[in-house]
């Protein structure tokens, strides 16, 4: 049967197992929407801003392990995706974005809503396509999904001119294979590299594992636990690696780096071996590179060779898929117990109670996070925005399962909280999903509350509302002589009234004793709910290792001293 380009896209998406598309139509992409309305198996979720489409596809991908899909029109529709593409790129998340483009004859003539989106997104996509012939559509889509999900995952954009979507009809032919001679994602690691790594592990007396996003991407959490338990090695998870090991596991030493737990950063500082699994030694983790893990050899297991020796010189690089690499490594690692080292790490935990929450008359954001953790038993999916609330969510929630924290790490894109939570809930409807928002980021993408309402997406929104751009304010307090210029939000709306304006329940909490009740009420109310937690304005995220410094310059919560006996 002969089909238009638009229909071919729909058929191709079905072949790739897609069942959900987040998008917003427009002139150039309208033929695709015309075809899409005849494909009920492709559920389209209409957003209110294309940025939400990209971030929802991202949240969906992180929650499910599938490739997220979004669509937008040309020009401003496509450019509105860019922040979401960057967020997916930086955190290695597989999404495919389909954008309409002006007709081929109009390209390059400053047509209405024309922009060179493939040029604009070159640095923020793993790959992109401008499809100029209807025959190239199906191969482009097959390739796009393959590129997005394999190797180091990433976003792929496909730009299709309107007259390719709605012009010549051809027979639909789904290609048997992808033809990408220049793309060879690594699989099994080299046996010698694995041997060298195993040798280092067996010799080490003070090893730590640094588990990054790669463990979740490669679905290698069982292998991680097996390795850690076999050789009794403490596991430190980066922000993006949280959930790779349950926070309840005795070997889990928390998160390192700028706002990580002091004992995690100190353990790395004192270690003689850092086993980095799918982590990229980001500056938020390492601080000043010359002072990072000074006494440690480095094993670096990664699927992307560009990460070796980019920030840290690896003594034992292992190039390969993480799951395959761990499966090869574990048999060569001897069972071990580093009693003195474990004792030392226990002492570090006792001496640096980084998760200490002090008593306060004013509601503290850390308390809210802890309460959400208690009320959900650590089993919800937590989606955050960016800023102080993000760090408290990373610290004070007791994550038990993989893919239970969804957060924009590398990009740090504010506004992530609302749309990514939509994507996560649509992908994992059986889970409770809490979107933890700052009042700053919430206002960037709150328009997509309408999407939650319209599609009955049952996300619970917790705004940690301190009336300011909190993290920036903290930096001004610490490093800019308390010059709080442009960080005080004095024009915030009444978030409860705002929720009610969207036809959903809004709850305001100002006192500690009301927190638990509000959380329960939110979870018992069907449908989306907004809870406005009015928290202490000038609260600081501790610990903090200032940018470019090391663990020796770490600032810790002043009152924490009082609980160390």
């Amino acid at each position: 049967m002969e089909m238009t380009g638009a229909e071919i896209i729909c058929e191709s998406l079905l072949r790739e197992g897609v069942d959900t598309i987040f998008g917003l139509p427009g002139g150039a992409v309208l033929p695709f929407y015309g075809a899409l309305s005849g494909y009920p198996k492709l559920r389209h979720i209409l957003v209110r801003h294309e940025q939400a489409a990209a971030m929802a596809a991202d949240g969906y991908a992180r929650a499910t392990g599938k490739v997220g899909v979004c669509s937008a029109t040309s020009g401003p529709g496509a450019t509105n995706l860019v922040t979401g593409l960057m967020a997916a790129q930086m955190d290695s998340v597989p999404i495919v974005c389909i954008t309409g483009q002006v007709p081929r004859a109009a390209i390059g003539r400053d047509a209405f809503q024309e922009t060179d989106i493939t040029g604009i997104t070159l640095p923020v996509t793993k790959h992109n396509y401008l499809v100029m012939d209807v025959r190239d559509i199906a191969p482009a889509i097959k390739e796009a999904f393959y590129i997005a999900r394999t190797g180091r995952p990433g976003p792929v954009l496909i730009d299709v001119p309107k007259d390719v979507l709605a012009g010549e009809k051809i027979e639909f032919e789904w290609p048997a294979e992808v033809d990408l001679p220049g793309y060879n994602p690594p699989g099994e690691p080299d046996a010698r590299q694995v041997r060298v790594a195993a040798h280092l592990i067996n010799q080490a007396e003070r090893p730590v594992i640094l588990a990054g996003h790669g463990v979740l991407i490669s679905r290698a959490w069982d292998e991680l636990r097996e390795l850690a338990e076999k050789a009794q090695i403490p596991v430190i998870t980066t922000l993006l690696g949280i959930g790779a090991m349950s926070t309840e596991h005795v070997l889990n030493m928390g998160m390192p780096g700028m706002h990580g737990m002091a004992y995690a950063s100190l353990a790395i500082d004192r270690s003689d071996l850092v086993i980095a699994l799918g982590a990229r030694f980001d500056d938020r983790v390492t601080g000043r590179l010359s002072d990072f893990a000074p006494g440690a050899k480095i094993i670096h297991v990664d699927v992307d060779a560009t990460e070796f020796n980019k920030n840290i010189v690896a003594d034992a690089p292992v190039l390969g898929d993480l799951k395959d690499s761990l499966r090869a490594l574990i048999p060569m690692v001897q069972p071990n117990v580093h009693l003195d080292w474990i004792k030392e790490t226990d002492t570090l935990r006792a001496e640096h109670p980084s998760l200490f929450i002090r008593k306060s008359d004013v509601l503290l954001p850390q308390q809210v996070m802890k309460q959400i953790s208690d009320e959900t038993n650590g089993e919800a999916i937590i989606v955050t925005g960016v800023g102080q609330h993000q760090m408290w969510a990373a610290q004070h929630y007791g994550y038990k399962e993989p893919n239970s924290l969804i957060t924009s790490g590398g990009s740090g894109a504010m506004g992530f909280e609302v749309p990514a939570a939509l994507g996560a809930k649509v992908g994992r409807p059986e889970k409770t999903v809490w979107s933890i928002a700052g009042d700053g980021g919430f206002q960037m993408t709150l328009c997509d509350l309408a999407t939650a309402v319209e599609n009955k997406i049952d996300v619970k929104y917790a705004i940690l509302n301190n009336g300011s751009l909190g993290m920036v304010r903290q930096w001004q307090d610490f490093f800019y002589d308390k010059d709080f210029f442009a960080t005080i939000y004095s024009g915030n709306p009444d978030f409860v009234k705002l929720a009610e304006a969207y036809g959903i329940r809004g709850i305001r909490v100002t006192k500690q004793e009301d927190v638990a009740g509000a959380i329960q009420e939110a979870m018992e109310t069907p449908g989306p709910v907004v809870v406005d937690f009015v928290v202490k304005e000038d609260e600081f995220v501790y610990p903090m290792i200032p940018a470019g410094e090391s663990v020796h310059e770490m600032l810790e919560e002043p009152e924490a001293e009082s609980i160390i006996s």
């Binding site: 070159l122 220049g182 060779a305 560009t306 070796f308 020796n309 980019k310």
Partner: protein
């Protein structure tokens, strides 16, 4: 240190922009760039001259390899290679200088490809050192314009 890197790529629209964009995005330097199809018209060769220390060059090589349409990346500086460039040099060649200009052309096996009573245009090919030497010798006469190709290089075969 200067490195001359050859990058074999699929001859698809946008590939050159992607490669050049990679350099600018990461702050790597492009001293010169040359690109042309190979006998297989679906494959092109990009030759880029860049500079940096060992770590930077290692990153450049690996980042180039990561680009989907890049088929092969070779750092020719690491091995024995032949390095060539062509320059078209338009000089002011008044009566007094005309003989000297022709002598220089002869010495460097350059061709005079254009001639007017006031100017000569020389075409010269060679490695970077030779091109620079010719330019230095011609400078005193007055160079009106120079157009250079990028450098290209090819590995020497071992015996």
């Amino acid at each position: 240190m200067e490195h001359i890197i050859s990058v074999l790529v699929e001859n698809k629209s946008g590939v050159l922009a992607r490669v050049a964009g990679l350099f600018s995005a990461r702050g790597y330097n492009i001293e010169s760039l040359s690109v042309a199809p190979t006998p297989d018209s679906s494959i092109s060769m990009i030759t880029v001259v860049t500079s940096g220390d060992e770590d930077i060059i290692e990153q450049i090589m690996k980042q180039l390899n990561k680009v989907i349409e890049v088929l092969k990346v070779v750092d020719l500086t690491e091995e024995d290679h032949i390095d060539r460039e062509t320059a078209l040099i338009k000089i002011l060649a008044k009566q007094a200088h005309r003989d000297e200009a022709m002598r220089i052309a002869q010495i460097f096996r350059a061709n005079i490809v254009d001639s007017t009573p006031q100017t000569y245009t020389l075409e010269v090919s060679g490695d970077a050192g030779k091109i620079q030497a010719v330019i230095n010798l011609l400078k005193p006469m007055g160079i009106k314009e120079i157009v250079r190709t990028g450098r290209i290089a090819i590995a020497r075969e071992s015996l």
